[in-house]
């Protein structure tokens, strides 16, 4: 069909696989190295670190973060952000909690579905403000962060849900171990796997990357960016709704300040996991590693007996170090090209 080949692009990239190349292809490598160093260092000082019990503990502590970080990742991939997730969790936990305590005999699955539905409505509200109202995502969800939290206060009228008001089966939703591992961990990994498949192997999932990478081009390619954006906020609300029920189950209570500040943890997990805040870049394995890193940091600070009051500071510092070193590595990669 062609008479001659074009000369452009003839130079096939050199197949030089050095360490930097590896870093550039798989940003996750950086976090793995960081985690490895941390694990070795901590287990030298605290042998109890590498026990099954402790590892289960770590996973248990980051499970809800993983679930919500999946939602957060999808949103950030489109170039947005959802700061309202923590208030959605708080509101859903409160509403489901009161419903369960006032109406005995509600099956667990109904409670879960109720939570998901409530979360989806809240997410739809976010999505509509952003897509129809053209409010920048950070502003819109900052607004709903306080709106939904305010609804929590209004709804609870100063009361809260205690452990004894909840049916035992709901508590076991997260803590039961029919498979030897607490359900919550399995649910988290399941959600992560589903999100991975969704993002990697469905057209809609690929469209999420496309919209975040270049929304105008997406429009030209027949993708409707506004619909994709609406979708990710609905999904984010839906998943946060599920997380709300799980929160209720895990902590056996719903309070006005449940999950307060949790939104930044989920953003941190995604960002540390290599998701670019400008959209289009990031993978689920990376985010899982990011969440794991946060969990290990939290856990090891306790194990090596750093005063609980300094733990938050150490955590913040390590996040900064992780982000800065990632940046310095990618700078080196650019320079070596």
């Amino acid at each position: 069909m062609t008479d001659q080949e074009t000369s452009i692009g003839k130079q096939v990239p050199r197949q030089k696989l050095n360490l930097l190349e590896l870093f550039s292809r798989f940003r996750e490598v950086g976090i793995i190295v960081f985690i490895a160093i941390l694990v070795v260092a901590v287990s030298l000082r605290a042998p109890s670190f590498l026990t099954i019990n402790n590892l289960t503990d770590i996973l248990m502590n980051i499970s809800i973060m993983i679930i919500v970080a999946m939602a957060q990742t999808m949103v950030i991939l489109t170039g947005g952000i959802d700061l309202s997730v923590s208030s959605v969790i708080g509101l859903v936990a409160m509403m489901v909690g009161f419903t369960l305590s006032a109406n005995s005999g509600i099956p667990d699955i109904a409670a879960v579905l109720l939570g998901i539905a409530l979360g989806a409505v809240l997410g739809t509200f976010n999505g509509l403000i952003i897509t129809v109202g053209k409010v920048p995502p950070i502003i819109a969800t900052l607004g709903t962060l306080s709106i939904y939290r305010g609804l929590v206060f209004f709804y609870s009228q100063g009361t809260w849900i205690n452990a004894f008001e909840l049916p035992q089966s709901v508590k076991l939703l997260s803590k039961g171990k029919p498979l030897g591992v607490p359900n919550l961990i399995i649910i988290a990994l399941l959600i992560a796997a589903l999100t991975f498949i969704f993002l990697k192997f469905t057209r809609v999932g690929r469209n999420i990357y496309a919209v975040g990478s270049n929304a105008d081009a997406a429009e030209f390619a027949g993708i409707r960016p506004q619909r994709i954006k609406l979708l990710v906020y609905v999904l984010s609300g839906l998943i946060s709704g599920l997380a709300g029920v799980l929160w209720l189950s895990r902590f056996e209570s719903a309070q006005t300040n449940s999950a307060l500040g949790f939104e930044l943890q989920t953003v941190t997990a995604a960002v540390v996991g290599g998701v670019s805040t400008s959209g289009g870049v990031g993978t689920i394995p990376g985010v899982l590693l990011g969440a794991l890193l946060l969990g290990i940091i939290q856990n090891s600070l306790t194990l090596i007996q750093i005063s609980p009051f300094w733990q938050l500071a150490a955590q913040g510092l390590l996040i900064i170090i992780a982000v800065v070193s990632d940046k310095l590595i990618s700078k080196r990669i650019v320079r070596s090209k």
Partner: protein, 375 residues
């Protein structure tokens, strides 16, 4: 296709020195006008609802409640105009105040302790500025990290303790009045600083550079605007002001706890954006931001008088923030879409969504019927 000429000026052969068409300033005047109208409405409604609203003493007492937000808002306007954000301000405030409290507890002279607090806050700003301007990390990511870091240091300093018993000379900063008047000291300081920050933003080279960076950072760089220096100095100023706000808060409460000011960064950003400062940078004015602070203050004051919980007040402020950006867009869309054809699909979607929200609130009230019925 950007090189395509705008049809409206191909015919204009000459150029005039004066503006003939709507210019930037006109658009903003509309926004600020809207804020003024809202303020008037709030004052009128509140005056009707509560006889205590227009009481000078009440207003004087309440006004100082918003000065920490205001003090942090001033540099935030600068930062947002350049298209950046500082999420760490409230944590920095807590850190600086806690450091001062720690030193005070150790018996250090209060003024020395305050100075040290200011220095630490400024240092926090230096860290932010360095990571953003030199390491070139996005400000959202950096300040998200220092948000946790600074708050953590605050807890590290004071743990579950509080610092109290500040001398009266110091608490004057947060509780005192200027001379014999009703004007709180903190309000006077805020007004003075707001004027200075406003002048810097609107009438100086530095301010012009901020807008240039916010609109097109690359082009600003090519035109010799010292981007890195400016960004660095913005975050240093923000750190200093956050620390100062921390001192004012400590003086007002007469004590310091490490969780002081938690969540205030959102209030600061809300005030900034409601004031018409574009979160994407390049647009906004200082008087808009000050007006929005006034609006938020009056609104909260009024709601407090009619006994609305403060967290529920946040809901209303959040709603106001969204509606203020939402409504103009909806109006434009409706105006632009007049000609487009009627579609059943759209109607169905709208009805469906409304039904969804109605259902949500039906459940919301039904599930709490016994309690919510009482109010």
């Amino acid at each position: 296709m950007k090189s395509q000429a705008n049809p409206q000026n191909t015919s204009a052969a000459t150029i005039s020195e004066r503006a003939t068409r709507r210019s930037l300033t006109d658009v903003f005047k509309n926004w600020e006008l809207l804020l003024v109208v809202l303020i008037i409405i709030v004052v009128l409604v509140n005056t009707r609802l509560s006889p205590y609203f227009l009481n000078a003493k009440n207003i004087s007492r309440t006004s100082s409640d918003f000065m920490e937000i205001g003090l942090m808002m001033l540099p935030m306007v600068f930062i947002v105009v350049t298209g950046n954000i500082d999420l760490s301000v409230a944590s920095n405030m807590g850190m600086s105040a806690s450091f001062m409290g720690l030193l005070h507890n150790m018996g250090v002279n209060i003024w020395l302790a305050a100075l040290a607090g200011l220095a630490l806050g400024t240092l926090g700003g230096v860290l932010n500025g360095y990571l953003i301007a030199k390491v070139k990390l996005p400000s959202l990511v950096v300040t998200l990290g220092t948000y946790a870091f600074f708050r953590g240091i605050a807890y590290g300093f004071l743990g579950d303790q509080a610092a109290r018993n500040y001398p009266a000379k110091f608490t004057y900063l947060g509780q005192g009045r200027v001379g014999g008047s009703l004007i709180p000291v903190s309000v006077a300081i805020f007004i003075g600083l707001a004027i200075i920050f406003g002048i810097i933003l609107h009438a100086t080279k530095f301010g012009r550079h901020l807008y240039a960076i916010g609109n097109n950072e690359e082009a600003a760089k090519y035109s010799g605007v010292p981007i890195d220096k400016i960004k660095f100095s913005l975050f240093v100023i923000s750190g200093f002001m956050a620390a100062f706000a921390g001192l004012v808060l400590a003086a007002r409460f007469g004590s310091t706890r490490p969780d002081n000011g938690t969540g205030l960064e959102l209030a600061v950003i809300t005030a900034t954006v409601l004031g018409g400062v574009d979160i994407d940078g390049g647009k906004g004015s200082m008087y808009g931001a000050v007006l929005s602070l006034l609006l938020i203050g009056l609104l909260r004051f009024g709601m407090g008088l009619v006994n609305i919980q403060s967290q529920v007040q946040s809901t209303i402020i959040g709603l106001l923030l969204i509606v203020s950006i939402f409504l103009p867009h909806i109006g434009q869309r409706i105006a632009a879409n007049k000609a487009t054809r009627f579609r059943w699909k759209t109607v169905l979607a709208v009805v469906g969504i409304i039904a969804l929200f109605v259902l949500f609130f039906v459940f919301f009230f039904w599930s709490r019927a016994p309690v919510l019925a009482e109010i």
